[in-house]
């Protein structure tokens, strides 16, 4: 599926990602978590080719990503960013169907797929014919997910997809998203800084700090057998209900 082999990234003299290897388990959800600047978004952006790694290789289905093949590879991946990243000049329908229409799907096929995805993401009736500026934040994010799923990609990459939503909207969307991930059996990578969200989604949680992977496993592993003080401090900082803060030396 998708794997990073000793991938590192530097901007000038600053290394934002130390050599990192990671294999995504097919059909499972992997959550990348960590504080700002830990390198979690960099990993996601390297996977979709928005950033070229300074060292190492990204492989998709055994094929290394190169500038020459990245465009076609992207069509096998879905990518969702905060607030959906919808194009303001296109209706919701045209936003979601843009790539399919560009690739020559006929109108009927596009519309059938749109109905299917609208049902899946529980998009309200009529929202498809509005423009992004006429929709709520939650609706825009559902459309962002629809757009990512349009061509039925093998991999879904989400960069803090719920970062801009208020808690109640966020709760509903989290529920719906987990249902979608499980029913479609997609390989999912989700970036967040919220441990609760990580535990809710993640079959595997990858905690990053200072540009490298600090601990990889389940949320329970991190709470009960933290790899080091950094993990403990990160767990404590989340103030998870029912999890007592552990003593660590202050930084």
């Amino acid at each position: 599926m998708l794997e990073l082999i000793a991938v590192a990234k530097s901007f000038g003299k600053t290394q934002v990602l130390k050599p990192t290897s990671l294999v995504l388990e097919p059909g499972k959800t992997t959550v990348l978590i960590g504080p700002s600047g830990c390198g979690k978004s960099t990993i996601l952006r390297i996977m979709i080719g928005l950033i070229e790694p300074s060292e190492g290789t990204v492989k998709f289905d055994g094929v290394a990503l190169t500038p020459g093949n990245i465009m076609l590879m992207r069509r096998k991946m879905g990518y969702v960013i905060q607030d959906g990243g919808l194009f303001p000049h296109l209706s919701a329908r045209d936003n979601v169907g843009l790539l399919a229409r560009y690739l020559g799907w006929d109108k009927q096929r596009v519309n059938e797929r749109l109905e299917e995805l609208a049902k899946l993401t529980r998009l309200p009736d009529g929202a498809l014919d509005r423009f992004p500026s006429q929709l709520s934040g939650g609706q825009r994010q559902r459309l962002g997910i629809m757009r990512a799923l349009m061509l039925d990609p093998d991999v879904l990459l989400l960069d803090e997809p719920m970062g801009a939503l208020d808690p109640l909207v966020r709760y509903d969307l989290q529920e719906d998203l987990r249902g979608i991930f499980q029913s479609l059996k997609k390989t999912v990578v989700l970036v967040t800084h919220d441990m609760g969200e990580a535990g809710f989604f993640g079959d595997t949680v990858v905690l990053l700090g200072g540009g490298e992977i600090v601990q990889q496993g389940t949320l329970a592993d991190m709470i009960h057998t933290p790899a080091n003080d950094y993990v403990t401090r990160f767990i404590n900082a989340q103030r998870l209900p029912g999890v007592e803060p552990k003593e660590v030396a202050t930084s």
Partner: protein
Amino acid sequence: MRSIVSLTVFPAALLLILASIAAAETPNLPLVRVGSKSSIENVILGEMLTLLADQASGDARHQSALGGTQIVFAALKKGDIDVYIEYTGTLSQEILKGQRVRSDDDIRAALAKLDLVMSQPLGFNNTYALGMKADVAEKMKIQTISDLARVAKSSTDPQFKFGFSDEFLKRGDGWPAVKVLYQFDNVPTGLDHSLAYRGLHSGTLLVTDLYSTDPEIAKYRLKILDDDLACFPEYHAVILYREDLKDRAPQVLQNLLKLEGKIDNSAMMEMNTRVRIDHDRDVNVAGDFLLSKLKIETQSGEEKKWVVIGRDFVRNTTRHLLLVFCSLSAAVTVALPLGIWAYEYPKVTHGILGIVGIIQTIPSMAVLVFMVPLLGLGVKPAIMALFLYSLLPIVRNTYAGLNEIPANLKESAIVLGLSRQARLYLVELPIASRSILAGIKTAAVINVGTATIGGLIGAGGYGEPILTGIRLADVSLLLQGAIPAALLAVVVQGLFELLERLVVPQGLRLARGD
């Protein structure tokens, strides 16, 4: 998706229209083309040449009031006009400057090298002169400039003032020469010519500089002082024509040369007066002269004034629209890709924006003087100049509109797996469309105003009545150009607001709340 289609089809359609206009623009050249400089006298004489040429050939056209000596002489050399009226002094002091021409024979020899020919003088000498009120001169017993110098030396009168135009004060053959030759020690005041006449009239000035055929000489009853030491160069009017006219239209040339020696200073002054002071049409004044002095009857065509105004309005409007439309279409087809390149390739951004910026700062007169030798007179150099001035707003707005698209939208298009070209046409250009259209609108509105320079080089348009109005101090004529030009700017503005509804995608307008 409609907006995407219109954005790609738009430049293509414009190119087509442009090509068809260019094809239609190729005119049937008349046999004889007469030119004239932008002075009242030169335009009257241009009309006179045209009437004579038309009588002989039935196929003559007057490219009236083309601008300064530089432009008209360049047009003659290039063959855009066949003939115009020049002055010997201008030929020796300005056009052939540096070739050390002294006599008329020197001038003829120098012109022959350019395949140009100069006729015998028409009669009058439109040179610099010093003038004062006739009654004052008589009272002070002043006939010549030497008399004036003598009286000036002995005078202690504080009212004994000289007021000269700035040009006269600065030119080597003007005041500096007079001062040395006649040994004046007065300190003259520099002032505008039209003010000088009023100064003389009210008595605050005693002496001013004149051209010897100025209509004001008669109007204000001025006396021209005799240049007894022959200080001023002679500016005899001559017919300047291309040598090939002799073979191409011998009867025409023969008819034109009938003017040699026939127009004296007082006749010329009288004609200038009729146009400048009485607002007679120059063609009528020229026709009357030919009839009364040469007994030549020409068709100067008596027409009702409103018929003339109406016909001129239609002609000027059509021409003005042609200038604006062609230059703008060409500018869109060139500037849009330039703006996109500036955005796509950061290495050339500064280069492109810098060059179109520099072009914008070149004065329009300079562009015209540069263009006429290359493209000749008429529509072409005007369209070229307007095209150049339209580039900056379109290039800049295209670049800015694309550049200010939020990074997350650009990335959203990339991660979808769209090609570079698809991203540009499906996402980036539509999002930047409002800014791009605003740039084109700015260019169009500026163009409507700037197109009035067309009047300087025979391209027509509203500039023609405006410039003629300024030349003749005829406000109603000036307004015949200025008002429609202003209205056209408003109409263009309105059209672009309508166009915005078609081109700018609905989603963007909703997002802005309009």
